[in-house]
Each structure stands twice: as structure tokens, then as C-alpha cells.
Amino acid sequence: MLIEQLINGITLGSIYAIVALGFTLVFGVLGIVNMGHGEIFMFGAFIGVLVTTTFGLPLWLAFLAAIIVTAFMGYLLERFALRPLRNHQGSNHLAPLISTIGVSIFLENLSHHLFGPGNHPFRTPFAEMSIEIGSVTVYLVQIVIFVISLILMAALSFWLGKTKAGKALRAVAENLETASLLGVDTKKYITLTVILASAMGGIAGILVGMAFNAVTPQMGLSMGLKGLAIIILGGMGNVKGAMVGGLILGLAETFIVVYGDSGYRDAIAFIAIIVILLVRPQGLFGQKTSDVRR
């Protein structure tokens, strides 16, 4: 049972990690907590349901469609909810937070309207495939989720750290005006960041749909809050922190059920976060200096 629970925890943690990666990317570059991220994630899941279950098309097409749709949503989010606020001199730094909350409410209700309330099943043969190791059943989806989360993390670290585009992005994160003066097309890179983060949310949405077979218009909210908690835990804007934080939260939630009381599932995760933040206010992987962001 322990091994099965460990797998459950890692699966859940990997999903949290992918969601958190999207959060951390936007925060790292823009210094904005994107509250609409959870809902974009939810849309990704719904696109998956539409493509695989409603139209009966293959899974890879679902991934493709979800990435395209959520990337486009990311573009719209940046274009209409973030950019107008950024261009305003003297607009409060909390303004984008509020506008993304607005986006999240709008998207939740939109999906409610488009897809209807309640749970939508995610039917794909891939979700049924499993391998037996001794008495333990491991679903292929669980392995895929873990692997995808690792790949995304590695790719993101590499991209941010080693490529020219990543360098430009970090320059934008460091100081928007200076980067702009040095010839970085800041508008392009900011848009790219939001699009990338959103597409990752879309991927996470499909993975959750497959793993848990539960897609509802409300799934974005709780996932969004968890994602937010994770990036605080892992260190705001830190890629490795998002990954490790996600896994810690997933495993903590699972093992509180195993050894404690399932009623405290959400509580223990947040208590852990409070404790860690008391000891390390900058998060697990965060830098101590606070001059990274304005």
C-alpha cells in the first residue's frame, strides 16, 4: 500500500508542479500573480474532453488542440487584462492581480455556459492502460504525468538559463526599461511568457482530466490556489522551487490521508507552508535578497 500511496502522491505532486510552473514563469518575469491561470488550466481539460470524448479523436490531437487554445487564451489574457494596465504610468501593482481575478471569474462562468455544470468524463483508452508490478498497479498516465512534469521543468530551466531568449527574458524580469533600452523587444517577450505559461496550464489540464476522470468548471479554482501556495513554498519565480514544492504538497496531502485524518488534507498542506515560510520566508529555493522584483 505504501508504494501505491507514494505513486498517488507523486502523481498529484507532479500535476501541482506543472500548474505551479505556469504560475512561477509569469511571476518570475512579470511579478504578477496570475489568478486566471487555474481557469486556463480548466479550459485545457475541457478541450481535452471535447476532442477525445465528444468528437472521439485521438489523444495527441487533444494535446495539440489544448495547447493551441490555451496559448491563444494566454495571448488574450496578456493583451486585454495585463498590457493595458502595464502601459499606464502609476497604475498600482495590485491592479493586474485584480484584473486576473476578473479573468478567472469570467472564464469559470464562460465554461459553465459553454460546457454546462457538473462533471464531464474524460474517456480515452490511454487512461485505462496500466502495468502490474507485483501487487501494485501503475497507470501509464501516472508515469506520463511525472515524466512530462520533469521534462517541462528541465526544458524551462534550460530555456531560461542557457538560451538567448531566456537571457532576454531574465533581462526583462530584472528591469523592464533597461532591457527595453538594450534592444530587447519587451512586449514580445512578455507576451511569449504568458502564452507559454498558459499552454503549460493547458497540458496540465489534460493530464488531470486523464488521471482523475473529473473535469468541472470549478476545478480551476482549487488548483489555482494550490499552485499559488506552491510557488510561495518553493520560492516565487523559481522553476526548481515550483517542482519541489509541488511534489512536497502532493506527497503531504497523500500521506496525511494514510497516517492521519483525511479531513485535514488541505489543512496540513497549508500548515506545512506556514511552517516553512516561518523558517525560510523567501521559500525553499528563493533568493534572500528582495531586489529581484520591484
Binding site: H112, N119, P121, T137, N213, S222, S262
Partner: protein, 388 residues
């Protein structure tokens, strides 16, 4: 803020005064028309308020409920004995919003009576308010313990869990020789929590060994941790007090994990949507219900056909209960012969042996349901009567 509050209070008070004045005048005219009601010219018409969970995580319930009401309203008004006007308000499943909606319906819309709210949680707040204002209120989906006891004006036509769960559990124990059970319930909802209390009490009463009690929260999507734990304990049966959205996902994940024992669910678990969501994984769910859509009763089949045609999906228990609910209201309204709240309340309380699509229905002296539940199970992908 406080000025606003004062204003609200003032307007509430003044509208109550107005209401009292209207009520006095209304009585005289009503007694005049009462004699002619049979003559056909005196069709009693009334505004009925509806508080329903139309947006948010449980919006599926609200949708079913308002659909059932609209269908019933159409039919009732077409018959021409009474004329019902529905005023539908959304509660979003929130207590405070339900209360605001109720106050609006009671004070400014002047409704004769209210159907709803959807959740027992909401009824706990709205019921006393309606009772205090002397407005009859009937829940069509409020199945938790103690709802009709909230006041003289509070009724329900939904079978309480305390009646449904023992009925289904008893049959399951006989059929599967159950000794050990695991319980899983949603701990943030009055309905599922009260269902759990009933399950636990019933299981203890029947001498079953409770292996573990696990909980989950609304909107959760991953139940693997709880289910893995349950699996390792090897129960003969799982008691799951869940709403169908969560319940269906729980069954799906349980079957995938290799848990193949039957599930006994409460009222919220009973919906054709379970089969839609969970597919084959839904096989083995046992529920007791007043509503069975396959029943060979022309009234039931007629309702199912009409509902399916109008709304594009089969009615569930919630649609059926609200449909019957409005018919009960129409009956009471006809008997009262007047849209006066007190006259309506008395007529409502006297309803007995009402033949609806749910079966033979009566109120007991507290305004609670007297009815025989049917035990159903999902087998081969559809609900069937449980008799093994």
C-alpha cells in the same frame, strides 16, 4: 453600509405593513370568489418563489430543479384550474445569497409560498426566516435531518436520508452478506454529512464493523489516497455519502484501482449522471430513492418523455421531486381557493395520499415526508430495481 442596512430594514418593515394591509383586503374578495371557483371564472393565481442553486459547483441540481418546475408550471397552467407564476432566484449554493433571495421574494415580490432552496445548508437559514414571516416554504431536495422541524411553515417532499439509507443498506447486507464496511463522505456539506451520520448510526445498529472513515471536500478530483487506504482494509461494502458529481468520480477511481465491492450511496448520489460520468465503473451502486424513471407507470413515463423532449436529457430525482413539488403546491392552492399565505399553508399541511410521479405522498404532522422508497442498483449500465 449601515445606512444601507437601515434602509433595507425600513423597506422590509414597510413592505410587511403593506402586505398586511393587502392581506386584509384580499381575504374579503377571496371569500367572495371562493364560491365561484367551480364556476370556472375564479381561477386562483399565485406567485410562487423559487430559490435554486443555479450557478456554482452544484448548478446541475439547480438546473434539474428549475427544469422540473417549469415543466410542471406549463402543464398546471394549461389545465386552467390554478395559475402559477414562478419567480426564480439564484442562491449559488450560498447561505447568505439564499437568504437575500428569500427576503426579496417574501418582502418585495410578495410570493404566496416558496419552493427551495436546493441545499439543506441553505434551508437551515432560509427556513426560519420564511417561518417567521409566515410564508410556506417547501424544499424539494433538502434531505438532511431536522428540516421540517425548523418551523410550522417549513415542509419538504424529498425523502430524508434517515429513511432512504437504512432501506438500501438493509437490502445490500442481505444480498452480499456484509460484515465489514468502509465509510467515505464529504465533510463540507450538510447533506453528505447528515448522510454520513445516518450511515454510521445504521451500520452500528446493524452490527457492522466500520473499518475506516475517510473524508473528502467538495470539488476535489483526486480520491486515490483515500481509496488506496480503503482497498488495503478489504471491506465488503463501501458506504459513500457523496453528491453524484464527486461520487461518480470516486467510483471511477475505485474501480480502476481494483475495488469491486458494491457502494451504497445517499440521496445525492442518485442520478443518471453517475452512469454518464463513470460508465461501467458505476455498476454496483445501491441507492434508495423515491424516484425511479423506469417505473411502469404511465404518469412517470409521460413525465420522462416530456422532460427529455423539452430539455434534451433524462430527468433525475431532483427534477422529479421539484415537478411533483409544484403539483403539490397547485393542489394545495386549489384546495385553499386563495393565494393567502396562511390559507395556503393549512391546505398544504392537509395534503395526503397525493399520487405524484414519485408515488403515494403524504405529509406527517411536522411537514415531513411519508413515503415508501424504492431500492435501486446500477447493473449493466442502468438503474434497476434491486432484488437479489
Amino acid at each position: 453600509m449601515s445606512i444601507f442596512k437601515k434602509f433595507m430594514q425600513f423597506s422590509a418593515v414597510s413592505s410587511m405593513l403593506l402586505l398586511a394591509a393587502c392581506g386584509g383586503g384580499g381575504d374579503e374578495t377571496a371569500s367572495g370568489t371562493e364560491g365561484q371557483a367551480d364556476g370556472g371564472s375564479g381561477v386562483v393565481s399565485a406567485d410562487i418563489g423559487v430559490i435554486s442553486y443555479n450557478s456554482g459547483p452544484g448548478a446541475a441540481y439547480g438546473e434539474a430543479i428549475t427544469n422540473g418546475l417549469k415543466l410542471a408550471q406549463e402543464e398546471i397552467n394549461a389545465k386552467g384550474e390554478v395559475n402559477i407564476n414562478l419567480k426564480i432566484e439564484d442562491s449559488a449554493g450560498e447561505q447568505d445569497q439564499a437568504l437575500t433571495a428569500a427576503q426579496k421574494l417574501i418582502n418585495s415580490e410578495n410570493v404566496t409560498a416558496i419552493i427551495g432552496p436546493t441545499l439543506s445548508t441553505e434551508m437551515n437559514v432560509v427556513g426560519p426566516e420564511a417561518d417567521l414571516s409566515g410564508v410556506p416554504i417547501m424544499g424539494t431536495s433538502t434531505t438532511a435531518e431536522g428540516i421540517p422541524q425548523l418551523g410550522e411553515y417549513v415542509f419538504r417532499n424529498s425523502i430524508p436520508e434517515a429513511l432512504a439509507i437504512p432501506a438500501s443498506l438493509k437490502k445490500a447486507i442481505e444480498a452480499y452478506d456484509v460484515k465489514k464496511v468502509a465509510i467515505l463522505y464529504g465533510n463540507d456539506d450538510v447533506l453528505t454529512k447528515s448522510g454520513f451520520d445516518t450511515m454510521k448510526a445504521t451500520a452500528e445498529e446493524m452490527g457492522l464493523e466500520i473499518l475506516t472513515i475517510e473524508t473528502f471536500q467538495k470539488g476535489q478530483s483526486d480520491y486515490n489516497a483515500q481509496l488506496t487506504k480503503i482497498k488495503s482494509l478489504n471491506p465488503d461494502l463501501i458506504l459513500a455519502s457523496a453528491l453524484y458529481n464527486e461520487g461518480a468520480v470516486i467510483m471511477d477511481q475505485a474501480r480502476k484501482m481494483g475495488i469491486d465491492v458494491p457502494f451504497v450511496g445517499g440521496n445525492g448520489f442518485n442520478s443518471p449522471e453517475v452512469i454518464n460520468i463513470a460508465g461501467d465503473a458505476a455498476n454496483g451502486l445501491i441507492v434508495a430513492t423515491p424516484w425511479f424513471g423506469e417505473k411502469e407507470d404511465p404518469k412517470v413515463q409521460d413525465f420522462v418523455a416530456k422532460y427529455t423532449e423539452k430539455f434534451g436529457k433524462a430527468p433525475d430525482q431532483f427534477a422529479a421531486q421539484s415537478y411533483d413539488g409544484l403539483y403539490i403546491f397547485a393542489e394545495a392552492l386549489k384546495n385553499a381557493g386563495d393565494s393567502d399565505r396562511d390559507a395556503f399553508r393549512d391546505a398544504l399541511a392537509e395534503i395526503s395520499n397525493f399520487e405524484g410521479i414519485l408515488g403515494n405522498f403524504s405529509f406527517d404532522e411536522e411537514g415531513d415526508v411519508v413515503m415508501e422508497p424504492t431500492v435501486l442498483t446500477i447493473k449493466d449500465g442502468k438503474f434497476q430495481e434491486f432484488n437479489e
